[in-house]
């Protein structure tokens, strides 16, 4: 049995010894360096470049501008393509843009022999613009006199959607006498993924085709988008994905591969490396959308929810990227985590502004929702005088729930067990009571939050995956997945699944980590917490085909019916369990037999038409230093129901990473912009990503349900750990201080101001309460 064991990562030794090859390791001799010329305004039009001085810098090979680039409009979101035009991603940008819509927009590129020459040239380029007023906020962008950023989107509204499930309207249902009601707006800030390896690719030409090595989560999608952006036929593009240093959704985006693919064509196919600096990644790739979400809730005195409403505005930034999908996912998540007697409704709006474009980031709209909704649940509990845990247990999604919007069924749920276990760990009942009525500058509190999360994108988008297996002469297996290892441990769990299905040892499964669109079977890639579930289905199907072929071949050799044979522990056995032939003997025979030579391989693809909910809860205990606004997390635990864990230790590591991301979201991270939409802190000093010293001991627990639809019973785990942490911390601060902070992050100045407003602190210099 391999599934369920904490085997070491199959890439562990390569990675810790530095042998694993990343994009930068695959640079070819004579590689040129490209740097993007970036706009120094956020809203306007490029009128003219002055390139003379830059072109004179020794080592500068070529400078290309938006007046040279291809005219194709293309989408950048890493979604599966749709052949139905109405479901296609919005194509709203060119490789190099004349119409500037974000600060740092791509308006040209310098290609040079080395980094220094490229940088020197960049500093010498002068650009003339026609400038329009920058649109920083949703309100500014929706104002009647705002400049329209994209021709097809009047009012700068990318999209607005709404739904109502039940009767009558929220407003009418909430009017009923005797209900407790809240209506409050919660704000979440812009944050960035901060993956260790920045966006980087190396592109060159071979035999009239483009080859590009890139740090991406989605090699097959990158190929498609390069085709769309450059006009090249898709088959002429070859994308290679080596090991990558993190993505968190930012590399579920086709960032700079199309530009680099085009650049190499402009220098005769010479290899070109286009690598972004940290500052560029933070300001000019993608971010998690800032949103303002108004939550309305009406409940009976016993806590039963009667009606719920979500009204959200998402700040898209300059380009559509994943666009409205993110807040639409948040609205769907609002619908399905809780039930209500009468009605749930939502209205979601995504608005173009001049900030950094929002895209996919771990949790895809649900961390934003979770902060708003789970804060609202605690605010409502306070009004009802009810324990927030009780309130959630009473109203949370039951097993068997079928989402009326998507048809996704709750096949199995460990949500209530997650809550109970988390409560036990944190000492919920005791501490909720003990921390009432505190005084003094240091106060403690406990808080919680829960979530549900889908597994993959069905039925919103296509879910397909494929796998190839090749039997070697020695009875071992080459395993090739279209699904990608992005640090999360995909290669390891696929190895375990293959070993399980074929009853081999994991050491006998040789997974090919690198994807190469010329040879790798098709899969859309790593996102939506989909691969263990969806790509795992392709693996299972392929393994079963391979096994059948092995047994068919054995049947011929042994002259016994195939259905009397089994493949077990590297042996062909009969029904009594007697060893008839070792697999390596069979494999060698198959390769070299003069009578029946056969190369035993299997390749299958699947179409996944199911989905399932993963669940979890976070419980946090904090101590708040009121006069200086510091929150210390004393204890924190995430408890997850992600179905059966294929590799418990890797699962735990995944949760640790997500909790760290959640703590950053809760307490410090925020990408700031000035009123010209210029980023202020797009670097890792001024952007407060937590360090090891800021991170408390992270406790993790699992409730292992067996999902009837997932391979070996698994459900989503990649994204969920980042979701519930921020609202749990916020609710713990509420419990400690009685102050219901309405926005993230809970940084010190904001807290001090909130404490002043609540009367916990007098203005600086006054006496404290």
């Amino acid at each position: 049995m391999s599934v369920g064991k904490s085997i070491s990562r199959v890439d562990a030794y390569e990675k810790v010894t530095g042998r694993a090859m990343y994009t930068a390791d695959l640079e070819r001799p004579g590689t040129l360096v490209a740097r993007v010329i970036r706009s120094t305004i956020a809203n306007g039009v490029v009128k003219r470049f002055h390139l003379e001085k830059a072109l004179a810098v020794p080592g500068v090979v070529k400078i290309l501008t938006c007046f040279d680039g291809p005219e194709f409009l293309f989408p950048t979101a890493g979604h599966p393509w749709s052949t139905d035009k109405s479901h296609q991603d919005v194509a709203d940008r060119r490789l190099l843009n004349t119409r500037v819509r974000v600060w740092g927009d791509d308006i040209g590129a310098v290609i040079a022999e080395n980094e220094v020459a490229a940088q020197q040239a960049l500093r010498l380029i002068e650009v003339e613009y026609e400038e329009y007023p920058p649109l920083v906020t949703v309100e500014q962008a929706m104002a009647p006199d705002a400049t329209q950023l994209h021709p097809d989107f009047p009012g700068n509204i990318l999209k607005q959607t709404e739904f109502r499930i039940g009767e009558p309207s929220y407003t009418q249902a909430a009017e009923e006498e005797g209900l407790a009601r809240i209506s409050k707006t919660y704000g979440v800030q812009t944050v960035q993924h901060c993956h260790i390896e920045t966006a980087v690719s190396i592109a060159w030409m071979e035999k009239g085709r483009i080859v590009i090595v890139s740090s991406t989560q989605i090699p097959h999608i990158v190929r498609r988008v390069i085709g769309q952006a450059t006009g090249l036929s898709w088959g002429k593009i070859r994308v290679i994905k080596p090991y990558i240093g993190g993505g968190f959704g930012n590399k579920q985006e086709v960032l700079y591969e199309p530009l680099n693919a085009w650049l190499t064509t402009q220098v005769g196919g010479r290899p070109v490396r286009l690598e972004l600096s940290r500052e560029e990644v933070m300001a000019c790739t993608r971010v998690r959308h800032a949103m303002d979400i108004t939550i309305g809730m009406a409940a009976r005195p016993d806590g039963t929810f009667v009606a719920r409403r979500f009204e959200g505005y998402s700040n898209q930034g300059g380009y559509a990227s994943h666009g409205h999908s993110i807040i639409a996912n948040a609205a769907n998540g609002f619908r399905n985590l809780y039930t209500q007697e009468k009605v749930v409704e939502a209205q979601a709006t995504t608005v173009y502004t001049n900030l950094t474009s929002g895209g996919a980031m771990r949790g895809y709209g649900i961390p934003q929702l979770s902060f708003a909704m789970e804060s609202a649940v605690d605010d409502l509990a306070l009004q009802l005088g009810m324990d927030p845990l009780e309130l959630r247990l009473k109203n949370a999604m039951p097993e068997g729930y079928v989402d009326p919007g998507t048809g996704i069924t709750c096949h199995v749920s460990g949500l209530r067990d997650c809550m109970q276990r988390g409560a036990e760990h944190i000492g919920w009942a005791k501490k909720r009571a003990a921390y009432q009525n505190q005084t003094g500058p240091l106060r403690k509190g406990v808080g919680m939050a829960i979530f549900s999360y889908k597994t993959g994108v069905h039925p919103i988008s296509l879910e397909t995956a494929s796998c190839r297996m090749i039997l070697n002469q020695d009875g071992t297996m080459q395993l090739q997945m279209g699904a990608t290892e992005i640090g999360q441990g995909a290669d390891t769990v696929f190895t375990q699944m293959a070993a399980q299905e074929l009853e081999l040892s994991p050491e006998d499964i040789h997974i090919v980590s690198q994807q190469d669109t010329d040879v790798t079977p098709f899969d859309t890639g790593a996102y939506a917490s989909r691969q263990t579930y969806v790509s795992g289905m392709a693996l299972q199907k392929t393994a079963r085909s391979l096994k059948r072929r092995i047994l068919d071949y054995a049947s011929g050799l042994l002259e016994k019916p195939a259905d009397t044979l089994r493949l077990e522990q590297g042996n062909i056995r009969d029904v009594q369990g007697n060893d008839l032939m070792a697999l390596d003997v069979l494999a060698t025979e198959a390769f070299y037999s003069l009578e029946r030579p056969l190369h035993i391989t299997a390749e299958e693809s699947i179409h996944c038409t199911d989905n399932t909910y993963a669940f979890g809860a976070c419980f946090a205990e904090v101590e708040v230093d009121i006069p200086v606004g510091k929150v210390k997390v004393l204890d924190i635990i995430n408890v997850h129901d992600s179905g059966v864990l294929i590799n418990p230790q890797l699962a735990q590591a995944q949760v640790h990473g997500g909790m760290s991301m959640g703590l950053g979201y809760a307490l410090g991270e925020q990408l700031l912009y000035n009123d010209k939409a210029v980023p202020l802190n797009n670097n890792l000093l001024d952007y407060k990503l937590p360090t090891a010293l800021d991170t408390p001991e992270l406790y993790v627990d699992f409730v292992e349900t067996v999902d009837p639809t997932g391979p070996y019973g698994n459900k989503a785990l990649g994204e969920p750990p980042a979701i519930p942490v921020a609202p749990a911390v916020r609710n713990a601060v509420l419990h400690a201080t009685g102050v219901a902070v309405g926005s993230l992050p809970l940084n010190s100045q904001k807290l001090v101001e909130a404490f002043e407003q609540a009367g916990l602190l007098k203005k600086a210099g006054g006496e404290n309460v």
């Binding site: 940088q119 006069p627 410090g668 802190n681 001024d686 407060k688 360090t691 010190s748 100045q749 210099g765």
Partner: protein, 294 residues
């Protein structure tokens, strides 16, 4: 790859001074943790450097005959924190510089660079100010000495003429013997951060272990340069330690600081920190000076 025009590795302080005069516009580099960042940002791109990184004569932490502790400006933060003389006599300095950046930075960044950079957030500054640090500056025409407090000329500007090098930092015995000190770096993170406010206190108690005999208070990021609060200090001397006094210190200090609002923090928030942290740092310093825990 760094955009450096030329780098000259000096063989002695004298040689470095000559090189600075000879190579127009050249910049001194030691640990490089400030200079390299500015080169990368483009602010110093294409610069000419004179390196004093390998000069033995700029390192060493020793006690001179009169009890003065002499710190070579080429000493790294890590070495200062770990040095027995620092640990024994001026732990507040070792503690302060141990809060700069992370281990990698502290292994290369030098205290001389931190002082000469002149920024208000420098983690060594507050501690050195309350320790009454004296700077020895060497130029073509010889040596001069001045207190650190007079070294600051404005944000990022110090009293260093072309071709002058900081060659020693001295802490006189009268400024550390019998003192207890404490430095609080208030930042948004526990590591890898710059101070939102830095507060250093050094004090000596009378034999009753209750009355303040000598008191020094300094701040970083509370003004354009690191500052000492002389009026507050004067008002505190001779008073018995009490929680009332701690609050008074905060109030008094408010009158001597001039923090500004930036996107990093508001003036009001920094003022609150001035009040709150001066009391907290004083309480801790009292403990270190052998007094009662308040």
């Amino acid at each position: 790859m760094f955009d450096v025009q030329k780098i000259y590795r000096a063989t002695s302080v004298e040689d470095a001074i000559r090189a600075l005069h000879r190579m127009e516009g050249s910049i001194l580099i030691s640990g490089g943790s400030d200079v390299l960042i500015k080169i990368r940002e483009g602010k110093l791109a294409g610069c000419t450097l004179v390196s004093i990184n390998d000069l033995q004569e700029l390192t060493g932490i020793v006690m001179e005959e009169d009890g003065t502790i002499k710190i070579g400006p080429g000493e790294t933060f890590t070495r200062i924190t770990e040095h027995p003389l620092i640990r024994q006599h001026i732990p507040v300095l070792g503690h302060a510089v141990d809060q700069a950046g992370g281990p990698q930075l502290r292994n290369v960044a030098t205290i001389g660079g931190n002082v000469c950079n002149g920024v208000t957030s420098a983690d060594s500054a507050g501690a050195l100010l309350v320790l009454g640090a004296q700077l020895e500056i060497t130029g073509r025409d010889g040596m001069r000495t001045l207190p650190l407090e007079q070294f600051y000329k404005g944000p990022g500007r110090v009293d260093l003429n072309r071709g002058e090098i900081l060659t020693a930092i001295r802490i006189p015995q009268k400024d550390y013997q019998g003192f207890g000190g404490h430095y609080i770096k208030y930042a948004q993170r526990a590591a890898m951060d710059i101070a939102t406010l830095g507060c250093a206190v050094s004090l000596r108690l009378e034999e009753d272990r209750q009355t303040i005999a000598d008191y020094r208070l300094a701040f970083g990021v509370a003004a354009p340069t690191p500052i000492r609060c002389r009026k507050t200090e004067a008002a505190v001397m001779g008073k018995p330690v009490s929680s009332r006094l701690l609050e008074e210190i905060g109030q008094l200090a408010l009158g001597e600081v001039s923090p500004r609002t930036s996107w990093r923090a508001s003036k009001e928030f920094r003022q609150r920190l001035v009040c709150e942290l001066s009391g907290r740092a004083t309480a801790q310093a009292v403990k270190h000076a052998g007094g009662e825990t308040l």
